[in-house]
Symmetry: C2
Amino acid sequence: MSPAFQRVAFLGIGLIGSSLARAIRLQGLAGEIVVYDRSVAHAEQALALGVADRITEDAPSAVVGADLVIFAAPIGANEELAAAVGPHLAPGAIVSDVGSVKMAVIRDIGPHLPEGVHFVPAHPIAGTENSGPASGFAELFIGRWCIITPPPGTDEGAVERIAALWRAVGSDVELMEPGHHDRVLAITSHLPHLIAYTIVGTATDLESTLQQEVIKFSASGFRDFTRIASSDPVMWRDVFLNNREAVLDVLQRFSEDLTALQRAIRWGEGDQLFDLFSRTRAIRRSIIDAKQA
Amino acid sequence: MSPAFQRVAFLGIGLIGSSLARAIRLQGLAGEIVVYDRSVAHAEQALALGVADRITEDAPSAVVGADLVIFAAPIGANEELAAAVGPHLAPGAIVSDVGSVKMAVIRDIGPHLPEGVHFVPAHPIAGTENSGPASGFAELFIGRWCIITPPPGTDEGAVERIAALWRAVGSDVELMEPGHHDRVLAITSHLPHLIAYTIVGTATDLESTLQQEVIKFSASGFRDFTRIASSDPVMWRDVFLNNREAVLDVLQRFSEDLTALQRAIRWGEGDQLFDLFSRTRAIRRSIIDAKQA
């Protein structure tokens, strides 16, 4: 059987890109994997690890002759990359991505793609707190969701080929409207990361003896936040800058709720605290029931 | 060799109490374990599980003849328990506890103890999101810290016996001034729990279709918060009501930092986001180096 794609080009080869490249290779889904990364060191590492068959010094050279091109750099790099590679894309090629925000990706990449190239944005709900090509692994996507957000009018055959690719690497696929995706992820992912970065940042501002004790006794709750707050800084900067409205909206709700709790603590309103702490248990139960725990 | 204590009485037998009782039994540290719990069902469960040798219908009966009495109910119950058992404590007995706040425990229990009874407050930095006697296990404290916070003038021999008990069940012991303990834990434990409860609460207020999607895609960060936010509601209500000043102080710092981030997102100040997200990585590294990850 011939592979699903003759030549897959990755633009960016960090944790997610290199994991997908490994999984594609493991499943025999590509004839050849070509990698471009702005960091020459990362590209060379991908080559040495066997993640890439070939690396290129510029982005346009990577996409020439590719029937699948995957944008896997931090999303702030997309527009410049798309402008550079657009004129070099093969007719009929599929362009996809792995970004955590979808409206901005469509805004930045879409206009640079020539007629006859199909754009199928995708977002695998998977990751770790580690970064770089060496941190990737082929099993990352197994049993995880991949959300595909095709703009109206996207070629259905292209959508199906991307869906099949994600299923082949072990994921469950869900189709979603891009704006809705950004609102859901603002709650499930972007706000939690923002909160974790904030609380760990608050701790880094403490005087140093107290900070040493915070590290020593971090197992009491703080530790879980530090894992999230050690995710890639560039990736997350770009997420917040590119999903601004949805993030600010949920952040506003969160701040109101936190202020209400603060007031309940100040005035000793134990019933209000107990009511909230009881309600939140039910959500955990739902997550366990949905086998996402 | 005779056991370290002839009779150990537990007042409250939830996750922490039952774990400690199991560990004490496993290590042969007690001649007899007597349990009182306000919930008859929990006490009977402890008896059926073999965690208790004997259960009592009231707190005073549990402490009679005990050379070690451990308060292990939610800390809001301490004052009433201490007033009830105080007159029945054996001369020379040691009273200890496992509460997450130490100033309030000393305030609530201390005045009710007769002359000649030694009070050694303790706080094991260990736990899970589960509650009740069936959720306990003897290995919970292995490799974890236990902070002991004796008030000034506490008998040194009694402190050493409690320290030895915790070392025997696998913990590392640290002595700390009670007020300092409460400030450190406000940062490492109480604020993280408050934040987690808030963010999960914010999600429970969403319209129900969106809430279903939040559950479905919770693996993207939200999930980690729901685990923390499913901890025992009564225990945590009592923690916040009894460590009010320290919690409100760190909450104020956190809110200021969050507002600054909110502003940076609104105005597109990417450098400020990147700087914070880079700084927080260093703390994670310190926790890994301290073998607390």
